[in-house]
């Protein structure tokens, strides 16, 4: 147990200020001296654990006039204490690395665990320290020692020890208080260093995230960022940590420049949660534009918003690909529309003429229907693309939804596919809505078409309308095959087809209900359904009633 420590170069010392006052003995002056020493310790960075411990052992040695002062910590197994630092006042040097094992000194370690302060005035003749005689006290000439506890997170972490070289010594209340105060300082340092270590570990984690992560304080200043965010901001802007977000222009999917108050971080700073919004950022310095999928959330501490965290995933390549897809779809649709018009137009022209043989007329009708299908298909594809990129344009007008529904019912009843159409249109007043008439018409047509496609030819289809105080509901009910419950959550997803690969697979792209939901959402409306497999489905849409002519 002979200390195996190694001398270490002293990095810094508070001794200068204490030594000048070493002649002071009056209790008041000694108390002042202690307070000054504590103040000096508090000015240092507490997260530097080694430096804090060295400062404490130095200060303690001077303040209690002890030749040896040291800090010992328990091993995780609590079967030994290990010396973190010993300060030798005479030699002005630090040692470390000694170990005292519970196996060698069980009573001493038990006493440390048991006793609040182990104050031993005559170490050679005290039962708690006699195990230390041969290996420690005698070789080092220690006659008295005092151990005060160092607590960390509610647990005895170790002890701060004063050792007097020579004969017995009576430790005073001042000595004990001084040691306890300095032990508290070590406890503070332990917490600070653990916090700093945890933060450093967390920084490593967030630095490993390829997305940009930044924290904005309550005043809108950028206070923390991961490596990706720091790199991007340094490349694109003149921003510095602690500064405000500047040098960027943000646009939404529709190409609208966002006001600073609409930036995700700002919204989160005021309590909103932003989830996965596509935003284009333009650097005013480099003129580079990039697309990000941005999320933001407020950080709430003690019930108040302390800051906001913003994450940005660079999706520039994906958006460019999406643009390419949209452009391709748009070009395809554009190019298809002209020949479709020609096919359809000629078919119609022929059908309007007289003297067409029955089989030819039938064939030409088929051509016309095929052209209609082609037209719908291209229109749907363009709409899907436009919606995905948030570029759908609504041409709203004021119209009576009841009248629109009635025209659908009239057309449906005329069709010869065998379905029995039941009108549930109950409207004492016009159901006036301010909406894109063409798209609303398409939504209703799709719901009726789906009901027809997925129900037996002789079954009823009920189309109902209900006018509520501020909205109107349209429902289409069929007694068809219904939707399997495991497929129901996906019904409104683009390109999802509930009956693909089943005997009820009637083809299609699986975008009708996706378009319906998106179109209605853009009108402030909604669509939902109830369905039981084997019994049928009811789809209901809601549109707000027009309050007044716009």
């Amino acid at each position: 147990m002979q200390p195996q420590g190694h001398p270490r170069r002293r990095r810094r010392s508070n001794l200068g200020s204490f030594e000048a006052n070493s002649a002071l003995d009056a209790p008041l002056q000694r108390a002042e001296e202690r307070e000054r020493a504590l103040l000096a310790l508090l000015q240092a960075d507490p997260s530097d654990r080694r430096a804090a411990i060295e400062s404490v052992t130095e200060a303690l040695a001077v303040l209690v006039r002890a030749e040896r002062t040291s800090v010992w910590r328990f091993t995780p197994e609590r079967d030994a204490i290990v010396c973190e630092n010993t300060f030798l006042l005479e030699e002005l040097r630090h040692l470390s690395g000694q170990t005292i094992r519970a196996a060698d000194c069980p009573r001493y370690l038990a006493a440390l665990e048991r006793t609040l302060v182990l104050r031993v005035d005559d170490a050679l003749n005290h039962s708690d320290t006699e195990e230390l005689h041969a290996e420690y006290l005698v070789p080092l000439g220690i006659g008295a020692m005092m151990d005060v506890p160092i607590w960390n997170s509610g647990r005895l972490w170790g002890v701060l020890c004063c050792e007097h070289v020579g004969g017995p010594r009576t430790w005073t209340r001042h000595d004990e208080e001084t040691a306890c105060k300095l032990a508290s300082h070590i406890a503070l340092s332990l917490q600070a260093s653990e916090r700093a270590a945890a933060e450093a570990r967390w920084q490593v984690v967030i630095d490993a995230i390829p997305e940009l992560v930044a924290e904005i304080d309550a005043d809108g200043r950028w206070i923390k960022a991961n490596a990706a965010a720091k790199r991007a901001l340094a490349e694109e802007t003149d921003m510095v940590v602690g500064g405000r977000f500047t040098g960027l222009e943000l646009k939404d999917l529709a190409g609208r420049v966002l006001d600073a108050s609409e930036w995700p971080g700002e919204r989160a700073r005021h309590g909103a949660s932003v989830r996965s919004e596509l935003i284009e950022m333009r650097s005013l310095r480099t003129e580079r534009r990039r697309w990000f999928r941005v999320s933001a959330a407020p950080v709430i501490v003690g019930g108040a918003i302390a800051s906001a965290v913003v994450t940005c995933a660079d999706v520039t390549d994906e958006v460019h690909l999406e643009h390419l897809k949209r452009d391709l779809l748009a070009a395809l649709a554009h190019e298809l529309r002209t020949p479709t018009t020609i096919v359809k137009g000629h078919a119609q022209h022929l059908l309007r003429g007289e003297g067409l043989a029955a089989d030819v007329a039938s064939a030409v009708s088929t051509v016309e229907r095929a052209a209609d299908r082609l037209a719908r298909l291209t229109g749907d594809l363009v709409d899907v693309s436009a919606i995905t990129l948030g570029r759908i344009i609504l041409s709203c007008e004021l119209f009576d939804l009841g009248a629109l529904l009635a025209s659908h019912l009239a057309r449906a009843s005329e069709s010869k596919d065998g379905h029995r159409f039941i009108s549930g249109v109950i409207a004492s007043a016009p159901a006036l809505v301010y909406a894109d008439r063409l798209r609303t018409d398409q939504v209703i047509a799709r719901l009726i078409d789906n009901a027809k496609r997925f129900s037996p030819p002789d079954s009823p289809i009920e189309v109902a309308l209900a006018v509520k105080p501020d909205h109107v509901l349209v429902s289409v009910r069929d007694e068809g095959i219904g939707i399997p419950s495991d497929k129901q959550p996906h019904v409104f997803e683009a390109f999802f087809r509930a009956h693909v690969g089943t005997p009820y697979d009637v083809g299609g792209l699986g975008i009708g209900l996706f378009l319906a939901r998106e179109v209605l959402a853009r009108h402030g409306g909604a669509i939902w359904f109830e369905s039981v497999e084997g019994r049928g489905s009811t789809f209901t849409l809601r549109l707000p009633l027009a309050r007044a002519a716009p």
């Binding site: 748009a330 649709a333 554009h334 190019e335 529309r337 002209t338 020949p339 479709t340 018009t341 020609i342 359809k344 137009g345 000629h346 119609q348 022209h349 309007r352 052209a371 037209a375 363009v382 709409d383 436009a386 570029r391 344009i393 041409s395 063409l438």
Partner: protein, 139 residues
């Protein structure tokens, strides 16, 4: 006097189809394959209505509409025939009077032309008093 219409469309098949579809109306129908041809045609004979495709080689619908307004004090009304995602937006862009989305029906076309063809005794319009982009959907 027979009313006249100018069909501006680069696709020859569609141009021929539109002419055929319009035949029951008994109009004097002229055609042009692009904006430049249309401007030349208008200088020779002022139509009562222009049916205008937008995407065309040589001179597209936008440049044609702009040139027409610059050179013609009383330009004829324009109905845009377009395959664009948003036909209404196209009409607004050039201040057209109406729009027809491709693909269109015979009936759509006839209704649209009837609606936008000025009455036979009407005087030429002073376009400066008209709101720009007041296009309406046909039918």
């Amino acid at each position: 006097m027979t009313q006249s219409i100018l069909v501006v469309e680069d696709d020859a098949d569609l141009r021929a189809l539109v002419v055929m579809m319009l035949s029951p109306l008994g109009l004097d129908i002229k055609t042009a394959a692009n904006g430049a041809e249309a401007l030349t045609s208008i200088r020779g004979s002022h139509p009562d209505l222009v049916l205008l495709d937008m995407k065309m080689p040589v001179m597209d619908g936008w440049r044609f509409a702009e040139a027409l307004r610059e050179t013609d004090a009383a330009p004829p009304p324009i109905v845009v025939m377009t395959a664009a995602e948003s036909p209404a937006q196209r009409a607004t862009e050039i201040g057209a009077d109406g729009w027809l989305a491709k693909p269109f029906d015979v009936e759509d076309l006839l209704r649209c032309v009837r609606r936008h063809m000025p009455a036979e005794d009407s005087t030429p319009r002073d376009v400066s008093a008209l709101p720009r982009g007041s296009g309406s959907r046909c039918p």
